[in-house]
Symmetry: C2
Subunit: 120 residues, 2 copies
């Protein structure tokens, strides 16, 4: 799992890192039980600070993707389908509002979602 940071992005570094790892879980590049790289190692590889990696890991823990023990951060996805659906709803709402405002039809929104799903 190679991490590449875009230092010109508006998105914060720890957020990029977090989303990159979530993507890796979604594509099964990394799986339940896998150990993430140490904060120092990943920081070195990505060319960022140790604490920035630490923060990304902490957020991943808070959002239910990993548990952090003495060995490090381990993929451990929380099994709460209801909460997951709720979060997805919240994230989809503003995105769909933008699309409908731009006069995309509801069918077109479904089409785009299908394209996204097919990309996994």
């Amino acid at each position: 799992m190679f991490i590449e940071i875009d230092f010109n992005s508006n998105e914060t570094i720890y957020s990029q890192l977090k989303n990159r790892i979530i993507l890796a879980i979604a594509t099964e590049e990394i799986k339940q039980g896998d150990l993430l790289p140490s904060v120092r190692e990943l920081a070195l590889q990505a060319g960022i600070n140790m604490h920035t990696v630490n923060k990304a890991y902490a957020v991943l823990r808070d959002e239910g993707y990993v548990t952090i023990g003495r060995k490090g951060a381990v993929i451990n996805v929380s099994d709460d389908a209801f909460k997951a659906r709720q979060e997805l709803f919240m994230q989809l709402k503003p995105a769909i509002a933008g699309a409908l405002s731009k006069n995309l039809s509801k069918d077109e929104c479904i089409q785009v979602l299908q394209e996204v799903l097919d990309s996994f």
Copy 2:
């Protein structure tokens, strides 16, 4: 169109304001050609600074939702379906990655989208 700001939100004020207006366009609470409140009036109503409203309007202009003339900000949605689809795709991707990581099925993602669409 009453604006309420959550001062405890992580989302920036101008972003909340921007998204609130996009939502109003999507629900047809406001329509093409409508004039938005003056920056001073809206700032007063929402309890925020004039310049914060001004920034929200500027971003809405940059994202193709309004044009700003001497009379103020007027709803004028850019008609570029391709760009709109592209932006929707970009916004949907990380949201779907999160959902799939949390072991939601693709069908469940479609279900949630349907719920969102039905809320409009």
